[in-house]
C-alpha cells in the first residue's frame, strides 16, 4: 500500500491540531481537520489524533462539526473511552435551538458504534421522536434502529415499538417511511413490521406524497399485506395503477412486483400488468443510463421465461448498437435468443449472424451460442449459418461453432448429416481444449459418416505427446475406440499406438487408467466393447439438458425486482445460502480491523462468489428418526410456521421423492400411495441445534400445485427459510425430471 509513513503524518497533524495559533485561525484549523479526513478516506489509520479531534468538535462552525463527527463515527469503536468524552458535546448539541444542529448531533451520536453508548443515546432519541421539527424526527426514528443494532440480542423495547407505530401517522412523509424501515430492523426476529389493514390503507393513501425512494420502499412493505376480500384487492390495485407509469423505473418495478404478488390468483390480471409495464420496461431497455438498462434487460429475460411471446413484436429494440457496453450486448443477445418466433426468426438470425464477426471474441462467441440455442427450434437455418461461419477460419469462431454442433447433434439428431458435412477442415482452426474435445467427440460418435475422420484423429494421436489438456487425451481415447468399432481397418494401428502411449508414457493417472481400462476391455472381446461403449443413449427428450420448461409467473414473482434476476437463480442460491447465517450472528464490526487485504480479495480476479465455510448455515442431521406417534403428537401441538405452494406437474412418484428427500436428510414419516387423490406426505427433519421441522405435502389432483406446510418447534425464521429453500431445490429437481 502507498500509505507508508503514516506515523509521521499523524504526528505532524497532532502538532498542528494542538497549535493554539492554528486553533485561533478558523480557516487554518478547518484545513487541518480536512487533511485528517482526507487521510482517513485513503485508508490511513488516523485514530491517533482522536483526542485532538474531540476538542475540535466544540465549535460553532457547522461544517467543521460535521467533519469531526464523521471522524468520530469512523474511529469510535477503536477508542471507546475517548469517544465518551465527545458525548457531552453531542448531548449539548441535541438541545440546540437550531433543528439542523439537533439532527446532526443525534445522527452522529447514534452512529457511534461502540459498546455502552446506548445508555447515553436513549434519552436524546426519545426526545427526538417528539421533536417539533420533522428533520429531527427523521433522524431519531432511524436512531432507534441504530440503537437496536448495537445490541441485537437485547429485548425489544415494547414502548419504543409502540411509539414508532404511532409515528406512522406523522405528517412528514420521510418520517413515515423511516418508521417502517426502523421497525423492520428492530422486529426482524419476529418477522418484521406488521402491516395490518389500517396501516396498509394509511400507507396507500400517503403514497402520492412520498418521494421515489419512499414509494419504492412502501411498495415493498405492502407485499406483506394480504387483502381480506377480492373487492379490497382490486381497490388497492386501482389505487396503485398510476405507479406503473411512474418516472422512476425502480418504482415501476416495485409496483409491478406488488401487482404480480397481490394478483397471484388472477392470471389474467398478471398478464395485464405485464402488458402495461411493457412500455416502461422497453423505455428503460433503450435508455441512456446503461446500468439501469442492464437491470431492465435482466427483468425482461425473467418475464420471457413465462411469456415467451411477450416482447416478440419489439425484437428490434433488442438489437445491439455499436456504442453499448459489453454487458448490455450480452444480455440483449440472450433476450433475442428467447423471443424468437416464426415471424421474426429470419431477421433475428440475420442480426445475430452479424454479431458473430464482432471484434470482441466474447461477444462473437455469445452470439454463436445464441444461434445454437435458436437452432433447437429452427434447425436448418441455423445450421446453415453456423456452417458458413466455419468458412471464416477464425480460431475463436470455429471452436465455439463446433461446441454448438456437439450440443445440437445430441438434441436434434436430424441435423447430424449437415453437421457431418461441415466438419472436415475444422481441425486446423481449433486450439483450445473445449473445442478439441467437442470435435473429437463428434468424430468419434459420427465418424462413419465423415470420410476423413480416422485421419483427423490420427493427427491428434501423432501430437498427443504435446497435448497439454488431459481431458482431450481421454476424449481422444474414447472417440478412437468408438470409431474403431465402425471402421476397424483404418483405426487399428492408430488405436494401438495411442493405447501404448497412454499406458507406457502418460504421466496423468486418470488418462493412464482410462487407457488400461480400454485395453482390458478390448481383451474381453469386441462384443463386450460394443456392449459397453454403444449402450443405449439416454433419451434426449428427457429435458435434462434443456431448460425450456415454461414457468408460471408465480414461480418468480417473489424474485422480481430483487437481485435474483440480475445474478441468475443458480448463482443467487450460492450467494444467499450463507447470507441467512451471517445475519444471525452478532458479528464484530469490521471497522475494528483495518486490514487492507482481507478475505474479500481473492487471489485472482475471479468474479465467482467465494464460498467461505460458514458454520452457521442450516445443517440437517442425517439420523433423525421419529416415531409416527411422536410425529403425530408434535404435529398437532404446533402451529404452521410457513405455508407455500410449489408448481407441480403430473402425478408423484413416491419412491423418487423419498429417495431425493433422503439425500438431503429429510425423513419421510408417512406417504399416500402413488396416484391417490389427494396425495399427502409427512416429512420430518432436524438440524444440528435440535430444531425440528415437520412438513406436510399436499397435492390436489385438480390444480397442478404442491402445497407444503412446515411446522417448527423453535420459531427461527432464518433456518426456516433455508429449510424451505432445501425443499424447493428437491422439488425443482424432481419436477424437472418429470416434465
Amino acid at each position: 500500500m502507498p500509505y507508508l509513513g503514516s506515523e509521521d503524518v499523524v504526528k505532524e497533524l497532532k502538532k498542528a491540531l494542538c497549535n493554539p495559533h492554528i486553533q485561533a485561525d478558523r480557516l487554518r484549523y478547518r484545513n487541518v481537520i480536512q487533511r485528517v479526513i482526507r487521510h482517513m478516506t485513503q485508508g490511513l489509520d488516523m485514530s491517533g489524533v482522536f483526542m485532538e479531534m474531540v476538542k475540535a468538535s466544540a465549535t460553532v462552525d457547522i461544517v467543521q462539526k460535521k467533519l469531526v463527527y464523521l471522524y468520530m463515527c469512523t474511529y469510535a469503536p477503536l477508542k471507546p473511552d475517548l469517544a465518551l468524552l465527545a458525548i457531552n458535546t453531542l448531548c449539548k448539541d441535541c438541545s440546540d435551538p437550531n433543528p439542523m444542529v439537533r439532527g446532526l448531533a443525534l445522527r452522529s451520536m447514534c452512529s457511534l458504534r461502540m459498546p455502552g453508548v446506548q445508555e447515553y443515546i436513549q434519552q436524546p432519541i426519545l426526545n427526538g421522536l417528539r421533536d417539533k421539527a420533522s428533520y429531527v424526527r427523521r433522524v431519531a426514528v432511524l436512531g432507534c434502529a441504530k440503537m437496536h443494532n448495537l445490541h441485537r440480542d437485547s429485548e425489544v423495547d415494547g414502548a419504543l415499538v409502540n411509539e414508532l407505530y404511532s409515528l406512522l401517522r406523522d405528517q412528514d412523509p420521510i418520517v413515515v417511511v423511516n418508521c417502517l424501515r426502523s421497525l423492520e430492523e428492530i422486529l426482524r426476529q419476529e418477522g418484521g413490521v406488521v402491516i395490518n389493514k389500517p396501516i396498509a390503507h394509511h400507507l396507500l393513501n400517503r403514497m402520492p406524497k412520498l418521494d421515489q425512494w419512499g414509494q419504492a420502499e412502501v411498495l415493498n412493505f405492502l407485499l406483506r399485506y394480504e387483502p381480506r376480500s377480492e373487492e379490497e384487492l382490486f381497490d388497492i390495485l386501482n389505487l396503485l395503477d398510476s405507479f406503473l407509469k411512474s418516472s422512476s423505473p425502480g418504482v415501476v418495478m416495485g409496483a409491478t412486483k406488488l401487482f404480480l404478488i397481490l394478483a397471484k390468483k388472477f392470471p389474467h390480471v398478471q398478464t395485464d400488468v405485464l402488458v402495461q409495464v411493457k412500455g416502461p420496461l422497453l423505455a428503460a431497455c433503450s435508455s441512456e443510463s446503461r446500468e439501469l438498462c442492464f437491470a431492465a434487460l435482466c427483468h425482461v429475460r425473467q418475464i420471457l421465461h413465462s411469456l415467451p411471446g411477450h416482447f416478440s413484436s419489439h425484437y428490434k429494440k433488442f438489437f445491439c448498437s455499436y456504442s453499448e457496453p459489453h454487458y448490455i450486448k450480452l444480455q440483449k443477445v440472450e433476450v433475442l435468443c428467447e423471443l424468437v418466433n416464426d415471424e421474426n426468426v429470419q431477421q433475428v438470425l440475420e442480426e445475430l449472424r452479424g454479431y458473430c464477426t464482432d471484434v470482441s471474441a466474447d461477444f462473437a462467441q455469445a452470439a454463436i451460442f445464441a444461434i445454437g440455442g435458436i437452432a433447437r427450434t429452427y434447425t436448418d437455418q441455423c445450421v446453415q449459418i453456423l456452417t458458413e461461419l466455419l468458412g471464416l477460419r477464425q480460431e475463436h469462431i470455429t471452436t465455439v461453432v463446433v461446441q454448438t454442433f456437439r450440443d445440437l447433434v445430441w438434441l436434434c439428431p436430424q441435423c447430424t448429416e449437415a453437421v457431418c458435412q461441415a466438419l472436415p477442415g475444422c481441425e486446423e482452426n481449433i486450439q483450445d481444449s473445449e473445442g478439441k474435445q467437442a470435435l473429437i467427440w463428434l468424430l468419434g460418435v459420427h465418424g462413419e459418416r465423415i470420410p476423413n475422420a480416422p485421419y483427423v484423429l490420427e493427427d491428434f494421436v501423432e501430437n498427443v505427446k504435446s497435448e497439454t489438456f488431459p481431458a482431450v487425451t481421454m476424449e481422444l481415447l474414447t472417440a478412437l475406440l468408438r470409431l474403431f468399432l465402425s471402421r476397424p481397418a483404418e483405426c487399428q494401428d492408430t488405436l494401438g499406438r495411442l493405447l501404448h502411449y497412454c499406458i507406457e508414457e502418460e504421466k496423468n493417472m486418470a488418462v493412464r487408467d482410462r487407457g488400461l481400462f480400454y485395453y482390458r476391455l478390448l481383451l474381453a472381446g469386441i462384443d463386450e466393447v460394443k456392449r459397453i461403449l454403444c449402450s443405449p443413449k439416454s433419451d434426449p427428450s428427457l429435458g435434462l439438458l434443456e431448460d425450456q420448461a415454461e414457468r408460471p409467473v408465480n414461480s418468480w414473482a417473489s424474485d422480481f425486482n430483487t437481485l435474483v434476476p440480475v445474478y441468475g437463480k443458480a448463482r443467487w442460491a450460492t450467494i444467499s445460502k450463507y447470507q441467512g447465517a451471517e445475519r444471525r450472528g452478532p458479528e464484530l464490526p469490521d471497522t475494528a480491523s483495518f486490514a487492507t487485504s482481507g478475505p474479500l480479495i481473492p487471489e485472482e480476479n475471479k468474479e465467482r462468489v467465494q464460498e467461505l465455510p460458514d458454520s452457521g448455515a442450516l445443517v440437517l442431521v442425517p439420523n433423525c428418526q421419529l416415531t409416527a406417534e411422536y410425529f403425530e403428537k408434535t404435529w398437532f401441538s404446533l402451529k404452521v410456521a410457513h405455508q407455500q405452494v410449489f408448481p407441480w406437474r403430473g402425478a408423484v412418484h413416491p419412491d423418487t421423492l423419498q429417495m431425493a428427500l433422503q439425500v438431503v436428510n429429510i425423513q419421510t414419516i408417512a406417504m399416500s400411495r402413488a396416484g391417490a387423490h389427494p396425495w399427502k406426505a409427512y416429512l420430518s427433519a432436524q438440524d444440528d441445534t435440535g430444531c425440528l421441522f415437520l412438513t406436510e405435502l399436499l397435492l390436489e389432483s385438480e390444480n397442478s400445485e404442491m402445497q407444503i406446510s412446515v411446522k417448527q418447534n423453535e420459531p427461527r425464521t432464518e433456518t426456516l427459510n433455508s429449510f424451505i429453500s432445501v425443499l424447493e431445490t428437491v422439488f425443482g429437481t424432481i419436477g424437472d425430471i418429470k416434465s
Binding site: 485508508g43 420533522s134 425512494w213 418495478m253 433503450s286 477464425q394 437481485l563 451471517e582 487492507t596
Partner: protein
C-alpha cells in the same frame, strides 16, 4: 439499503468513502478496486458480487461510483440513487471529475450525510439540499432563515419552499431530443425512436401554478374535432407519444383524466418530462458512404450527406466524423462545402459545415493511405457519426402553450412575452450530446466495390469488410423553445387570437413573426389561468 458508498478515480484511488452499516468493512473498498477497476478483462456487469457483497457501480467519465450492500436490494433503485447522487453533485460543482471531487470532498461528505442515513435514502432534492448545505459553515443564521430552512426541509411540497422572490420572473424551456436509428443493409429504416426530454429552468416567485401543453395526439383529437382543416394545412400537427414520465411535481391524476400537465415547479433547473415516440419520425439527414479499396495500402472514401427537411429551414453546426483505420499514414481530403481535417489523434476525419439548408446535398471525398501492417489486431470499425442542430424536433413535438399563474403575487402586470432563441452553447444545461448509432454490423446502403473480391478476403485484409460501415446519426437537438421571459409571461387572450400562424417551430426567425400557438379555439381561461400561450409574439 446501501451499506456504503465509495468514489474512485480511474487508477482506483479512493476519493470518497462513506460506510453506513457495520456489515460493510473497510476491506470492501479494496475488494472493489482489485476485482473491478483493476480487472484485466472488460467489465462484465454493473453489479458485481464479491464474497457475498454486491457492488453496484456507475462510471462517469473516469470516475467510479460504487454502492455496496449485503442485502437483496432492488437493482434499479440503487442505480437510480447513484444517478441522483451524480445529479446532485453536478448541481453543486458542475462536471464530475477527479479534480472537482477532490476540491469538494468536504461538500460531498456533507451531502452523503444528508442524502443517506443508515443506508436509507432521505431527502435528495437539490433545491432543498441547497438551502442548508451551503459550504459557508459559519453563516450565522437568523431565526427567520432557520425556520425557513426547516419548513423547506420538512415541508409538504418537498421540492419547493415558500417565499421565493425574484426581481425578474423567468422561465426557460428546452426540448432536447435524440434519435435512435437502426438501418438494414438495404438502407431501409428498421426501427427508429426519439427519446426526448423537456428541461425547465424556473426562476419564479411565490408558488406559481404552471400548465404546459404540447401537440399530443390525444389532446388534439379531443379539442380539435371541428377543425380538421387546420390539420391538413400545416401537415403533421399532432404526435403520438408512446410513453412519457414526469417529474414528481406534475399532478399525475390530472394528466390521466384530462391529459393536462399542471405543476408547481421546483426552483431552478429540473427535468419536467421524458417521452418516447416511435411513429412518423423525421430523419433530418441521410448519410451515404462509399468506400473503395485501391490495393492494400490505399482507400478511397466518399461520403454524401443529404438534408431531408424543408428548404426554408437551416441546420447548423454540422459535424461529421468519419473514422479511419488505425494504420492510416496520411489523408487527402476534398470537400465542396465546409472544412474537413484529418485528426490523427482521434483516428478520424472531422468535417464541419456551418450551415446547410433543407433538401440539399453535400459530399466529401478522401484518399486514405495506409501503412502496410501484418498486425492481427482487428479494427473495430466504428460508425460514422454526425452532430448537428436543427430548428425542429424530429419527433414533431411542439409546445402549444405554457401558462403560469401565481394566485397571491399575481404577476399579470406585465403583458409581454419575448421569445429568444438561446444558442445551445450558452446553456449550461445542455445535455451532453449522446451518440446513437445503428447496429454496428449493418452494411451501408450502397457499397463501392465489387463484393465477391472482398468476401473472399473477408479476414485477410484488416479493413476489408466495409460491411462495418453503417449509418450513424448523432443528434443534438436544442430545440430551445426558449423563453427567457423578462418580466413575465402573460398577454391577453385577444392578442393571441390575432396572431398569424406561421407554420413551424418558433425560434429560427428570431423574435418577429413567431409561430401561432394553438390549433382551433384559443385555450380557455376558465380555471383562472390567464390563458396565454407562449407562442405569442413580442408586442
Amino acid at each position: 439499503m446501501i451499506g456504503g458508498l465509495f468514489i474512485y478515480n480511474h487508477k482506483g484511488e479512493v476519493l470518497i468513502s462513506r460506510v453506513y452499516r457495520d456489515d460493510i468493512g473497510r476491506n470492501a473498498v479494496d475488494a472493489f478496486r482489485v476485482n473491478v477497476i483493476h480487472a484485466r478483462q472488460q467489465v462484465r456487469s454493473p453489479v458485481t458480487n464479491i464474497a457475498r457483497t454486491s457492488f453496484f457501480h456507475v462510471k462517469r467519465s473516469n470516475i467510479w461510483l460504487a454502492a455496496v450492500t449485503k442485502q437483496n436490494v432492488n437493482a434499479a433503485m440503487v442505480f437510480e440513487f447513484l444517478y441522483k447522487m451524480c445529479d446532485v453533485m453536478a448541481a453543486y460543482f458542475g462536471k464530475i471529475s477527479e479534480e472537482n471531487i477532490k476540491n469538494n470532498f468536504v461538500l460531498i461528505y456533507e451531502l452523503l450525510d444528508e442524502i443517506l442515513d443508515f443506508g436509507y435514502p432521505q431527502n435528495s432534492e437539490t433545491g432543498a439540499l441547497k438551502t442548508f448545505i451551503t459550504q459557508q459553515g459559519i453563516k450565522s443564521q437568523t431565526k427567520e432563515e432557520q425556520s425557513q430552512i426547516t419548513s423547506q426541509v420538512t415541508g409538504q411540497i418537498g421540492w419547493r419552499r415558500e417565499g421565493i422572490k425574484y426581481r425578474r420572473n423567468e422561465l426557460f424551456l428546452d426540448v432536447l431530443e435524440s434519435v435512435n436509428l437502426l438501418m438494414s443493409p438495404q438502407g431501409q429504416v428498421l426501427s427508429a425512436h426519439v427519446s426526448g426530454r423537456v428541461v425547465m429552468k424556473s426562476y419564479l416567485s411565490g408558488m406559481p401554478e404552471c400548465k404546459f401543453g404540447m401537440n399530443d395526439k390525444i389532446v388534439i383529437e379531443k379539442q380539435g374535432k371541428g377543425t380538421a382543416d387546420e390539420t391538413s394545412k400545416s401537415g403533421k400537427q399532432s404526435i403520438a407519444i408512446d410513453d412519457c414520465t414526469f417529474h414528481q411535481c406534475v399532478r399525475l391524476s390530472k394528466f390521466d383524466s384530462e391529459r393536462s400537465i399542471s405543476f408547481i415547479p421546483p426552483d431552478g433547473e429540473f427535468e419536467l418530462m421524458r417521452y418516447r415516440t416511435t411513429k412518423d419520425i423525421i430523419l433530418p439527414f441521410r448519410v451515404i458512404p462509399l468506400v473503395r479499396e485501391v490495393g492494400r495500402t490505399k482507400l478511397e472514401v466518399k461520403v454524401v450527406i443529404k438534408s431531408n427537411f424543408k428548404p426554408s429551414l437551416l441546420a447548423q453546426k454540422i459535424e461529421v466524423r468519419i473514422p479511419t483505420p488505425l494504420n492510416t499514414s496520411g489523408v487527402q481530403v476534398i470537400c465542396m462545402k465546409g472544412k474537413a481535417k484529418y485528426k490523427a489523434s482521434e483516428n478520424a476525419i472531422v468535417w464541419k459545415i456551418k450551415r446547410m439548408a433543407g433538401m440539399k446535398e453535400s459530399q466529401i471525398s478522401a484518399e486514405i493511405e495506409l501503412l502496410p501492417t501484418n498486425d492481427k489486431k482487428k479494427w473495430a470499425r466504428p460508425p460514422i457519426s454526425m452532430n448537428f442542430e436543427v430548428p425542429f424536433a424530429p419527433s414533431g413535438l411542439k409546445v402549444r402553450y405554457l401558462k403560469v399563474f401565481e394566485p397571491k403575487l399575481n404577476y399579470s402586470d406585465h403583458d409581454v412575452i419575448k421569445w429568444v432563441w438561446v444558442p445551445p452553447g450558452h446553456h449550461t444545461s445542455a445535455s451532453p450530446p449522446s451518440c446513437f448509432a445503428a447496429s454496428p454490423l449493418h452494411q451501408p446502403p450502397s457499397l463501392g466495390l465489387d463484393q465477391p473480391h472482398r468476401e473472399r478476403d473477408w479476414w485477410s485484409s484488416p479493413w476489408a469488410p466495409w460491411a462495418g460501415w453503417f449509418l450513424g446519426l448523432l443528434l443534438h437537438h436544442p430545440s430551445v423553445c426558449p423563453g427567457p421571459m423578462p418580466g413575465s409571461v402573460f398577454c391577453d387572450q385577444s392578442q393571441v387570437g390575432s396572431l398569424s400562424s406561421p407554420p413551424l417551430w418558433p425560434h429560427l426567425s428570431g423574435v418577429g413573426g413567431l409561430a401561432a400557438p394553438h390549433l382551433g379555439a384559443p385555450p380557455k381561461a376558465s380555471n383562472g389561468f390567464p390563458a396565454l400561450s407562449p407562442y405569442s409574439a413580442l408586442g
